[in-house]
Symmetry: C2
Subunit: 233 residues, 2 copies
């Protein structure tokens, strides 16, 4: 592992272990260089990554401070690694309703940059948090990238499988949010009333090489799901 990545992980652990709060000051650059026996540029790289991840903020001429925003149980809209990572303290399960190989609709083909006769895996799941319905998810995976899927994999974390099983590098994510009312079928799956509020998030996940591999449409149970976003200047 690259040294700055290792330092980044250790600093994150240090903040966690010492239960540092928003506004708490970290050691100065010079001390960190000594502590980790690393060059200024290596420490700076680690700090920039921590800042990008919303874990610290740096004030010129003043120091490095902890940024702690996170309300427990909120799902990050910034995460491109799937919701399993955000909610690891919770009991998260999935029920696979449908899993099959299909030809893409126009919408799916546009979002995944596919031809009409390419193949996609279609996966429809209900996801549960502590036994409550969290969301109804429909995902379309480009089969030439996600070459294999089955029900057992889809019952767990598909993204974990993509990273560890297929060895793919998940890059960036574009998400689009709409608020509306649940249709009858959606409401039934979520155990809510038809017409109840819904948050629908459409996401296009890309590999680090820019290829879109997953287009997903997720309807959240508004009683269970809440979200957070951190932005930097």
């Amino acid at each position: 592992m690259l040294k700055y990545l290792q330092i980044e992980i250790e600093l994150e652990k240090y903040i966690e272990d010492n239960a540092l709060q928003q506004g708490d000051k970290l050691p100065a650059l010079q001390s960190l260089m000594k502590q980790f026996d690393a060059s200024k540029s290596t420490i700076t790289k680690a700090l920039d990554l921590l800042e990008k991840k919303g874990i610290i903020y740096q004030v010129r001429g003043s120091g490095i401070f902890v940024r702690k925003h996170k309300r427990k149980g909120y799902i990050s809209l910034m995460s491109n690694q799937g919701i399993t990572k955000d909610l690891e303290d919770f009991d998260l399960t999935s029920e696979v309703i449908e899993l099959k190989v299909i030809k893409p609709t126009t919408e799916v083909a546009q979002n995944l940059i596919l031809q009409k006769d390419d193949d996609v895996y279609y996966v429809k799941r209900i996801r549960y948090i502590n036994g409550q319905t969290l969301c109804l998810e429909e995902s379309y995976f480009n089969k030439s990238i996600i070459t294999y899927l089955n029900k057992e994999i889809a019952t767990g974390s598909i993204f974990h499988y993509i990273r560890e099983g297929l060895g793919l590098n998940i890059g960036f994510l574009d998400s689009f949010l709409h608020v509306g009312k649940l249709k009858e079928e959606e409401a039934e799956y979520l155990g809510l009333k038809t017409g109840a509020p819904k948050l629908r998030i459409e996401g296009v996940f890309h590999l680090t090489n820019g290829q879109p591999f997953d287009f997903s449409k997720v309807n959240y149970n508004y009683e269970q799901a809440q979200f957070y976003v951190q932005s930097n200047d």
Copy 2:
């Protein structure tokens, strides 16, 4: 202006002027160095900033590519500069319902890190997009930072005033999203029915020095507002 910031702006303009699309390739690092007569580290800094802003992505050993995600009329949840900047193509107006100096509630004091006898500006506005209600906004500003506000300022862009009028540097933002049902008073202001879906976003805006200066609670009209988020790995 620092050179890498200038190059960043020019590259953004180049992408705009040439109507480059998602996946289009930019000139290689060497060409950019020549074109802008700049060092490798200056160009790299400009590119890293563009990547952070979600405008490009870089693939090691392959090149620099345009990232174009934006659906017109979507509000960025990543922007810390207020919604006026996102919707500049639209006719955005505000009606001030209330503006007064008050003592903070416990919730406001916690979010702005204030004492009970500190002063805050309370501003309640309805914001309109092309004549339709967009959101009902209640904001609380730390008066020791935002020292002056009046109705005329609040009818326009308060954030523009904070940047240009007060000369403050707006730093990072933490947002928390909930979906629910509109209460009677909220529904009336938005011109919707009581119980209709609502998206409520609570935001804590910080200066670049880490001080929180604005705690806002915004209820959006679900028929008018849609949102996007870009995330990186």
